[in-house]
């Protein structure tokens, strides 16, 4: 046994501590990822599928992330209709119509601003926003 003035620290202890911290960081990162994208469990909309046949997607729920292009229409009862640009992995830009219902009127939507939204494709083929947040 080492004497008090020169204690030895087993390298295994230090190694386990480092691994412990890394594991803690990893576990925390996994759980806190939820905050980064609350819709991570929702399927991403493939714009080409939408362009091909929007009717076939009616009633489905997707997540999209895009930049607001223009305000297209506004109705105090139905809400605000915008065009949003969604960029896919192959760097293609897809303008899509997105309807923010009047129940979400408190959200300040601005041009060139990027949002992440959970949308349902309604009977008219428009993306109806159920939840939205800035990305």
């Amino acid at each position: 046994m080492a004497r008090r003035a020169h204690p030895t620290t087993p390298s295994k202890l230090i190694l386990s501590l480092v691994i412990g911290f890394l594991a803690l960081a990893g576990v925390g990162a996994y759980f806190f990822q939820k905050d980064a994208n609350p819709f991570r469990t929702v399927e991403k909309l493939n714009p080409s599928d939408y362009y091909e046949n929007a009717n076939s997607l009616r009633g489905n729920i997707y997540q999209i992330e895009g930049t607001i292009l223009n305000s297209l229409a506004w109705n105090p009862e139905k809400g605000r209709l915008f065009s949003i640009r969604v960029t896919t992995g192959d760097s293609k830009n897809w303008p899509l119509p997105i309807l923010i219902p009047s129940s979400l009127r408190q959200i300040n939507i601005q041009k060139n601003q990027t949002y992440r939204a959970k949308v349902r494709i309604n009977d008219s083929g428009i993306l109806l926003v159920e939840e939205v947040q800035k990305s």
Partner: protein, 559 residues
């Protein structure tokens, strides 16, 4: 017993065998570099021996070390706090080493002060004491636990003859109490009559260990001053072999047996009364001592106040009129293409200006807080290393030291991050939740302080610790990606380790509901982490810093 170093061709100490009875004052003599101090450090347990055993009252010290209160070790260098008075030095030392009520503690100090002749000096600061007075104080600090083994390393070196005689006499009288063994390392051959035994070393070999009255006859010299020249005439190995083959007196005599019994009884009494203080008690003593030292040092208080007040002012110079308002783009596409392009251009220019300003102000606050963090703790351990090592030998737990330091530093961290948040927010008119903005700043200052505490605890000099801490802060800005975006792969690799990135990200997330956030996002290619993730990683950095510091404090670093 033998002590060797892997890099040294010859052992530092070789074939050393000696025995000392209780109530004994022994001197360890020899020319410079002969291994006297090494031998004392081996007995204290500071230097590990390569082979052999050391026994104390029949116990092998490698199996059961000396209880902290039973060992007193007075190093050659001063281990006192110059800003504290003699009495304060003694009081804090005693509080770290033994349990006692306030009255009992005061009585112990009174007794020790009187014993060491420091009564008249007890209200004087240690920084103004003479060399001899400092050695007395060093001895007095060890006597607060009434150790039964007192080791003094060159405590008479460099003193005037009168002080040397006084200290030697004091040590001699201390050896008469409670069966105590006192061993003094010295190269002085004066006052040989005061010693009960003399051990002489030369080139790491034991040359002589017996009564000082037989010394001149053994070395065949007229006066003790002739011993060192006589030693030089023959090889140390020859002297050592000669000593080994001489018949030695039996180790236990009736007198020494009585002394041993007396010493055992005294030791049993001591063990009962010298239990170590609890972990929280040691931590709070360390904390209050540190706080007192801080308040006693006007330069340190002035520096901390200057940083606290000036750094936030520097940040606000860039937006002392408040943050500019943001002009949004028209939503409709009714205007002409030229107008739309003109508007888009104006918006891009605005984004670049305001986004850069907001992102820069956030990062500027973070970097200045990181600088304050490094200033808080870069010298915290390394500056007090000699005192820390001695207190560890006397029984303080490394965890208690760390807790005491952390408590003290937490006050600084709290004040620095709170004032930065409040001042910059008030002047620049930052929107967002105030508590949410305070937290990333508090965490990043705490994380950098903890990491620099770790650096300090592993550094061998203040300069090394300061440089290491400065590098840690210096790399935060370029590797955070806040000013210049890093290549994706490099950014992914470095970001987890850069505290500033997480604090910057966390702070910007508090602006998420404002247009400032959008403008920063539009100009920065570096991805922002979520708020909770940022706080979590900063907490991990803080924990890593503390763990790093704990092992640094725990390891032995005697100089």
């Amino acid at each position: 017993m033998e002590v060797s170093l892997p890099e040294a061709p010859l052992p530092l100490l070789s074939n050393i065998s000696a025995w000392y009875p209780a109530s004994h004052f022994g001197a360890i003599l020899g020319p410079s570099g002969c291994g006297k101090s090494t031998l004392l450090k081996v007995i204290a347990g500071i230097v590990p021996h390569t082979s052999g055993s050391i026994f104390w009252h029949g116990r092998n010290l490698e199996e059961t070390d000396l209880p902290p209160g039973e060992l007193g070790y007075v190093p050659q260098f001063s281990c006192t706090q110059p800003l504290l008075t003699v009495r304060e030095n003694l009081t804090y030392s005693a509080r770290l080493r033994r349990c006692a009520s306030t009255q009992e503690m005061s009585d112990i100090i009174d007794q020790v002060v009187e014993e060491t002749g420091l009564t008249e000096l007890q209200d004087r600061r240690a920084g103004v004491l003479s060399g001899g007075q400092l050695r007395r104080l060093g001895l007095a600090m060890e006597l607060t636990t009434q150790p039964s083994l007192l080791l003094a390393d060159e405590v008479t070196s460099g003193l005037d003859p009168k002080s040397e005689e006084e200290i030697t006499l004091l040590l001699s009288s201390l050896a008469q109490e409670k069966g105590r063994l006192v061993l003094l390392v010295t190269h002085s051959l004066r006052f040989l009559d005061f010693y009960d035994s003399v051990t002489i070393l030369s080139a790491g070999r034991l040359i002589y260990s017996a009564d000082p009255r037989d010394l001149t006859a053994y070395f065949n010299v007229a006066t003790p001053e002739g011993i060192y020249p006589a030693l030089a005439k023959r090889d140390a190995g020859t002297w050592a072999e000669e000593w080994l083959h001489l018949p030695h007196p039996p180790e236990l005599t009736p007198t020494s047996v009585l002394d041993e019994i007396e010493s055992e009884i005294a030791r049993a009494d001591e063990e009962k009364s010298s239990e170590l203080p609890s972990f929280p008690s040691q931590a709070s003593t360390w904390f209050f001592r540190r706080l007192k030292l801080f308040l006693r040092d006007p330069a340190q208080v002035f520096l901390q106040l200057s940083l606290l007040l000036v750094f936030p002012v520097i940040v606000t110079l860039f937006a002392y009129r408040g943050l500019p308002s943001v002009r949004n783009m028209a939503m409709s596409a009714d205007s002409g293409v030229v107008d739309q392009l003109r508007e888009a251009l104006a918006f891009t220019i605005q984004s670049s200006r305001i986004g850069t300003l907001v992102s820069g102000l956030a990062m500027f606050q973070v970097i200045l807080l990181a600088l304050m963090g490094s200033n808080n703790s870069a010298r915290e351990v390394v500056g007090d290393r000699s005192i820390l090592e001695k207190e560890k030998l006397a029984g303080i737990r490394p965890g208690a030291v760390l807790l005491g330091m952390t408590l003290f530093l937490s006050f600084l961290v709290f004040l620095q991050s709170l004032w930065m948040t409040l001042f910059v927010r008030a002047v620049c008119q930052f929107p967002g939740n105030i508590l949410a903005q305070f937290l990333p700043f508090f965490m990043v200052t705490g994380a950098i302080t903890a990491l620099c505490l770790g650096i300090s605890s592993w550094s061998s000099s203040s300069e090394q610790a300061s440089l290491g801490s400065l590098y840690l802060v210096g790399f935060q800005l370029p590797l955070s990606g806040a000013i210049l975006a890093l290549p994706d792969s490099l950014g992914t690799l470095t970001r987890p380790f850069i505290s500033a990135y997480w604090a910057w990200s966390g702070y910007l997330q508090t602006l998420r509901d404002t247009r400032f956030y959008d403008l920063v996002r539009s100009i920065s290619e570096t991805p922002l982490s979520s708020y909770s993730m940022a706080l979590w990683i900063l907490l991990i950095h803080f924990g890593l810093g503390l763990a790093f510091a704990y092992f640094g404090i725990r390891r032995s670093q005697w100089r």
